[in-house]
Structures are given as structure tokens and as C-alpha cells.
């Protein structure tokens, strides 16, 4: 008889809740039991793996641009017989390109070429999500 009364009581509590209240209660209970992450806790900026992947890219981006710059300069020099003018010029341009690549990779700009877009905050955000 008592068990029956309890059931009735529980039923009454459930009925008195609106669906919104119920879903909020379930959410709270899930967080309390550790089934869901705490929404108030600060979220990690990005998964650790993505951060490692970003870091691993930096070095090769710089070296690759340097090599391309140097090689292009060397090839132009051999062709135009101006050694070592273009090799020196394009080596430094490669240096700049390398840093540009790193900067874009780290800010989530990727190769979205265009300085004008750097100011576009929404663009930066979607870029970061891709990482």
C-alpha cells in the first residue's frame, strides 16, 4: 500500500513539471553524475591533438617556403645569367612567405590569401574550427 502511495506521489511530481523543466532537471542530473561535461566549466580552446598537429606544421612551412624561394631564384639566375641577384632576393621573399604561412596556419587563416581578410573576425573563427 505504501509502495503504491509512493508511485502516486512520484507521478504527481512528474506531472507537475513542464517538459522544459524536466529536460533542465535531466541535464543538471547528467552533469552531476559526470555523464555530460559541465557547461559552466571553461572549454579547452581545441583538442590536444589538433594543437600538436598545428605545432608540427610550423617548422616545415618555413623550411619549404625558404627552399622554394631559393630554388626559384637559382633557376631564374641560371636562365637570365644574373647570378646571384634573384637567388638572394627570392631567398628573402621565401623567408617572408614562410613566416606568412606560419602566421596563417597558427591564426587559423590558412592560405586564405588576403591581408584585408585578417580583420574579418568571423572568418578567423571558422578557420579555427577547421583546425
Amino acid at each position: 500500500m505504501r509502495a503504491f502511495a509512493n508511485e502516486q506521489l512520484m507521478g504527481a511530481v512528474l506531472v507537475s513539471l513542464t517538459p522544459e523543466e524536466l529536460s533542465r532537471k535531466i541535464k543538471e542530473a547528467r552533469v552531476k553524475q559526470g555523464q555530460d561535461p559541465d557547461p559552466t566549466a571553461p572549454k579547452p580552446a581545441q583538442p590536444a591533438n589538433a594543437a600538436t598537429a598545428k605545432a608540427m606544421r610550423a617548422a616545415t612551412e618555413l623550411v619549404a617556403a625558404l627552399m622554394v624561394g631559393g630554388f626559384l631564384g637559382y633557376w631564374l639566375d641560371t636562365w637570365l645569367n644574373t647570378r646571384p641577384l634573384f637567388m638572394i632576393l627570392l631567398f628573402f621573399a621565401g623567408f617572408a612567405a614562410g613566416f606568412l604561412n606560419i602566421y596563417r596556419a597558427q591564426t587559423g587563416q590558412e592560405f586564405k590569401v588576403g591581408m584585408g581578410e585578417l580583420k574579418d573576425k568571423d572568418d578567423t573563427k571558422t578557420g579555427e574550427k577547421e583546425q
Binding site: R57, T60, A93, G94, A97, G114
Partner: protein
């Protein structure tokens, strides 16, 4: 030379084959590529055979791989991405299999050869350039010309942007190749320390345990790098294609 840490990278022909002066032998590198294709195909087809609504362990594995790349392609390329999903997934699997199968003892890591990674990177580079020109025609060149650029800065920035663009295939291939080669060489070097310590006498023989412990940790690191490098290769493929398709 037999015990050099670099000896593991030597290409050995299994079936020697010479046609019109070209050496097209079937090498152990090619053999492991074949193994990778077979393993990847088997993994994706056999595990999905039951088509269970509630997936088992194996089905879960292939669904995770599929959704990982599917999500990545969808996030970067959106609706357009569906066309490129097979390419990105195949590239991801061939790189991942190359890296992971290379971790097996006595196996060969074909991703440790720049000719292999270079060919894959050039495929991505050529495809993204072709897609860019096919969709935008000569307007694709505006990729090198940032919006709102002062005329005075143009020659400098265009040169830098062109170098930046041309460095894509190089950085894509060198990154994968260098990581794989360095990791495998490091494992061999530490294993070599153990052998050297045992050879030096019984007293130092006990110390040979230390490089083994280091190697265990390194193998864990290498497994992580194997996955991350495949991930980086796939996401960069997506990003390069995105540039070619969207071209602001």
C-alpha cells in the same frame, strides 16, 4: 653498414623487372603499399558486413574513421565536399596505413620515402590548381592578389604569395617524410644502444634495459605521430581544395 639505423630505409626488389632500360622492379615498398590497400579495403568492407544498427567494436572502428574524415570534409568544404570525400578518405587511409603498418617489426614504411609522399602531395597540389582554374578561369590568379592591396606593395606581395603557394606540395610531402624517417631512425638508434651495452660486458648489460624503456615510450609517441600526420595530410588536402573552390 648492416646495423646502420638508416639501413631500414633501403629499397629491396622482390621481383626484379627491367623494361626498356627502366627499373620497374616490384620492391618491398610496393609490396607494403599493396598490403596497405588490402588491409584498408578489408577493414572498411569486412567490418561493415553485418550493417548492424548498434555497431560492434570493428564496425565502430570503421564508422569512426568514416565520420572523422566525413566531418572534416563537411566542415571545410560544406556541400561541395561530397565530391571530394572519396579522394580525401583514400589519401587519409593510405597515409595512415603506411604509417601504422610501418610500426610492425620487419615491415617497411613507404611513407618514409619522399618520392611516395611527394607524389601524393603533387596529386593534391595539381588537383587543387586544376579545380581552381576550371571553376574560376584566369580569375584564379586573384588568389595571389590580396584585396585592398596598395599598388606600391603589389610586386612584393605577389612574389611572396606565389612562393607561399608553390611551397604547399613541398611542405606537405617533407612534413610526412621527415616525421616518419626521423621517428624510425630514432627507434633504431635507441635499440642500437641496448645492443652496444650488452656487447660491452655484463656490468653494463643491466643498463641496456634503459634504452628499451625509452623505446617503449617512443613507440607510443610514434603511433600518435602516425595518426597526426595522416590527419594533417587529410586536413591540408581539404584546405587547399577549399581555397580553389571558394576563392573569396
Amino acid at each position: 653498414m648492416a646495423h646502420s639505423p638508416l639501413e631500414q630505409f633501403v629499397i629491396k626488389p622482390i621481383i626484379p623487372l627491367h623494361v626498356a632500360g627502366y627499373d620497374i622492379s616490384f620492391t618491398q615498398s610496393a609490396a607494403w603499399m599493396l598490403v596497405a590497400v588490402v588491409v584498408a579495403t578489408a577493414l572498411m568492407t569486412l567490418t561493415m558486413r553485418s550493417r548492424a544498427l548498434v555497431p560492434g567494436r570493428w564496425q565502430n572502428l570503421s564508422e569512426m574513421l568514416y565520420e572523422f574524415i566525413g566531418g572534416m570534409v563537411n566542415d571545410t568544404l560544406h556541400e561541395e565536399g561530397k565530391k571530394y570525400f572519396p579522394l580525401v578518405f583514400s589519401l587519409f587511409m593510405i597515409v595512415l596505413m603506411g604509417n601504422l603498418l610501418g610500426m610492425l617489426p620487419y615491415s617497411f614504411t613507404y611513407t618514409s620515402h619522399i618520392i611516395v609522399t611527394g607524389a601524393l602531395a603533387l596529386l593534391v597540389f595539381a588537383l587543387s590548381t586544376i579545380v581552381g582554374f576550371a571553376r574560376h578561369g584566369l580569375h584564379f590568379f586573384s588568389l595571389f592578389l590580396p584585396k585592398g592591396l596598395p599598388v606600391l606593395m603589389m610586386p612584393l606581395i605577389v612574389v611572396i604569395e606565389v612562393i607561399s603557394y608553390l611551397s604547399r606540395p613541398l611542405s606537405l610531402s617533407v612534413r610526412l617524410f621527415a616525421n616518419m624517417t626521423a621517428g624510425h631512425t630514432m627507434l633504431k638508434v635507441f635499440a642500437g644502444f641496448s645492443v652496444g651495452l650488452i656487447a660491452a660486458g655484463t656490468a653494463t648489460g643491466f643498463l641496456s634495459v634503459i634504452p628499451v624503456i625509452v623505446n617503449i615510450a617512443l613507440i607510443g609517441l610514434e603511433l600518435m605521430i602516425a595518426f597526426i600526420q595522416a590527419y594533417v595530410f587529410a586536413i591540408l588536402t581539404c584546405i587547399y581544395l577549399k581555397d580553389a573552390i571558394e576563392l573569396h
